[in-house]
Symmetry: C2
Subunit: 504 residues, 2 copies
């Protein structure tokens, strides 16, 4: 508490009590984060029921702590206390937390839990069975609850209903703004995709030949994390079906998965999650436990994973560093040549699946989902109307025929069955911010690419640490972007990055 | 709730509320068990501070739930409600829980936490430095608090002070009873040790030659767990510095450790922990969450690990099953011959360290500690007096000279620095009960040894499941022993087992 940003507690009784209460919430959240990671990475099947019950008990406790009526009074009184800038920003985030926890009536929270649990549970079987009709039965109640939730949040925040849902993931972002940047994308991206496909048509590219022993894949993953300055004293790498970055900032648990014949999944999965992990590991230590020390938003979080995976991971300088590791573990093969690996990582091929999409076609998957889910929440689109609209947009944006394929169509993501409407835009906003950060870095360090080529990643990490990681939730997102890069979100950098990489 | 042991809740409002409250406590304990296991098996060093804070917050919450004054009223009212036998036994265990949680004033709990944390923390450095003088400074306050604690518990329970401490681990056991059985041991064990040493003097025994690759050790550990019917859908095996069995009954987490040149540690460590694990995995499912479904006591828990490690693990039939696994992974060597491995496992050699002691000299380590700690709590023995008494007893019981070696003398165990007075007897009580269980099994299944030789362990597991595991805390320990084996604790079976194995 010798931090100059923290005046003596005596003068700020209400604010100080709020800090204590949030520190307590943080400590309980720690338990949930670790057992949640454990559930995905370690837990045997028969542990699930007891685990779910324990986590639900914790959720109930946390909900109670967050909705304690006394908080409203403390938040009010703290407004009039003499606070430092950081404390005032922390108070703003506490208020956001309070609003998010209290906006929904308990009845609606319960309905949401039931509807999404049922829908997601059934979806795990229905998706492989391509059972759209069965899915619709469970998805209709999920949408009904989400619409009601959007109305509640809209009344509370004054935002449009879909915007109010999106605000949970990307505070301050509006659908008007998303429309503006996605609209811009739509004017040039389809043409770029066509041009690049044309150009790549006769380009030779070799696939690395497996099998690739899993311990060797793991050793390379660990070596890459080391090169990316992951702090192994404050985190670890494990395996799970779906890679993620979990745990707590003091102890980040990231996971990847190893496939016998596909190196790309584990290696780029690890690089991606390491981006998330380094953000968490480098949030401001002295504020950990307070809402201000949280990562700014999901879009900004994706901007870190994509800074690592797309900006850095597919950079020829980074690939050059990777090659000796591959040769060391799997022996030399022609596919391990730097130019070939770079071509492989930038290969453009429109497909059905978002998570398997290349850098260039990925945004089309996101735009399509944004347009459909917004219409579901606000535009009167009904569940029955999704497939036709999906097919039309996939044909339009990516030129692929998805008719009748629900499993790899509107049923492919976990987001909708679990009620996470408003999340999808974060992925592409993240990709745009990542390009914007690297443009700013190149202005600050004109020989940045030569540095990366020489294996020196320090300028990248220093810039991210100073401008993003250490800022945590100090600023609202537009202000964060402005301070970091001199401007608010500007998709021109994303376009320039893609044109340079794919046509340059 | 169709269990005939559970009448409708309507008739038992107080008891039913108690069940609900204990189920909630159980769910919170689940979180503590998993993050506690994670702390030992996974956590990187920088995670420790946040983890300790999160676990302390959970402990505070649990203490609050356990000492809620309303419980006293519920316990009182439930006594007059129409309960089944199981419910009444559950109520008895709830009362035990209440008493244990409420016996100590908050001030004393806090003093104990501070004193033991400081002493144990310093001990980790002081022990390797053989710094007895430094240790004494921190240990004196630990003893002072323990004596006060013993007084409090004594007043609450009516037991003698040391007995009141022991009652936390082995409910119902008294020091008079421990003295009786240990006194009996002392009349014949030293002589037996001498005879066996004499007999083994010229017996050839070969040590397996390493190094032993760790993945192979792990594969054998897993194969042995499989043979011992560990349910891998409800638990897993990991590594930690000190092997233990943790987690929850629905998801048991056991750990072992692998040394490059010592197979015995990992293999027998795994067999030992698997005994603990199977007890937990086979507690009565329909009662999980209630105090009655907990393992009966630490002594009974040790009787399971020692049933597996000593009764079964060192059985020639079990060793015969182990040999092909060893040869498979490490190739044939003369030391892997069945007779040699059996001789190795039963080699008697008095030494300084309890945890490294063989089956025959182990009780001497326990008796010595029991006698010293009882005198510390009740007999006016002071911390300064320990080394001389330790040296004298080690010379007397084991014929070894420990003078000046505090590190491998009175500083070797974590129990005293952490204030766990009264635990040590459980180890030898467990060994005695294990022998008593196997004697009862042999009466029930006269060809038990032939069955084990033939690789059929089912009679062992069936007997333990029916008589111990499924009984959980249904009975007080003497009643459990009586129902299981026809008599209360009887050390004659232990003597017969040792004489048969070592002189037979």
């Amino acid at each position: 508490m010798t931090d100059p940003n923290r005046p003596a507690a005596g003068a700020t009784p209400a604010y100080s009590e709020l800090e204590q209460r949030h520190a307590r919430i943080y400590r309980f959240e720690h338990l949930g984060s670790i057992v949640g990671w454990d559930q995905a990475a370690n837990m045997p099947p028969k542990g699930n029921e007891a685990r779910a019950a324990a986590m639900a008990e914790l959720d109930t406790l946390l909900h109670g702590l967050r909705t304690d009526a006394w908080l409203r009074d403390l938040l009010q009184r703290a407004e009039d206390e003499p606070l430092s800038d950081w404390q005032r920003a922390n108070l703003r985030e506490m208020r956001r937390d309070w609003r998010a926890s209290n906006a929904l009536p308990a009845r609606l929270v319960e309905q949401r839990t039931l509807a999404t649990a049922r829908c997601e549970h059934a979806w795990r079987r229905q998706r492989p069975a391509n059972d759209w009709a069965g899915f619709v039965e469970n998805f209709r109640p999920v949408l009904r609850v989400a619409r009601e939730e959007a109305q509640c949040l809209s009344q509370e925040t004054g935002l449009a209903p879909y915007d109010a849902l999106m605000d949970r993931y990307e505070p301050g972002m509006t659908s008007a703004e998303v429309e503006r940047v996605f609209g811009d994308l739509k004017t040039w991206l389809p043409d770029l995709v066509r041009k690049v496909q044309e150009r790549q048509r006769d380009e030779p590219v070799l696939l690395p030949q497996g099998p690739f022993a899993r311990p060797a894949q793991k050793a390379i993953s660990l070596a890459m994390m080391q090169r990316l300055d992951f702090d192994f004293d404050a985190g670890r790498l494990d395996e799970s079906t779906h890679p993620f970055s979990g745990g707590v900032p003091e102890d980040v648990r990231l996971t990847t998965r190893y496939l016998d014949h596909d190196l790309h999944q584990s290696l780029m999965g690890t690089v991606h999650e390491t981006g998330h992990a380094r953000y968490e590991q480098n949030l401001p230590r002295s504020w950990l436990g307070q809402p201000i020390a949280r990562a700014r938003s999901y879009g900004i979080h994706e901007s870190q994973s994509l800074s690592f995976e797309m900006q850095l991971g597919a950079h020829p300088g980074f690939v050059r560093m990777l090659v000796p590791m591959l040769v060391d573990h799997f022996g030399a093969q022609p596919a391990f040549e730097v130019d070939n690996l770079c071509r492989l990582m930038t290969r453009v091929k429109p497909g059905f699946i978002r998570v398997d999409a290349d850098e260039l076609t990925y945004p089309a998957h996101v735009i399509l989902r944004f347009e459909i889910e917004r219409a579901l929440i606000e535009g009167g689109l009904e569940v029955e109307d999704i497939p036709a609209l999906w097919d039309a947009k996939m044909a339009d944006y990516l030129g692929v025929d998805t008719r009748g394929n629900f499993a790899d169509g509107p049923m492919q993501d976990v987001h909708w069955p679990s009620g996470a409407f408003g999340y999808f835009p974060c992925y592409t906003l993240g990709a745009m911010y990542a390009a914007q950060w690297f443009a700013a870095m190149r202005r600050a360090t004109p020989d940045l690419d030569a540095q990366i080529e020489a294996g020196n990643l320090k300028p990248v990490f220093d810039w991210l640490s100073q401008n993003i990681w250490q800022q945590a939730s100090r600023w609202e997102t537009p202000e964060l972007a402005l301070r970091a890069s001199g401007e608010r979100l500007n998709p021109a950098h994303y376009r320039a990055h893609l044109e340079q990489r794919y046509l340059g």
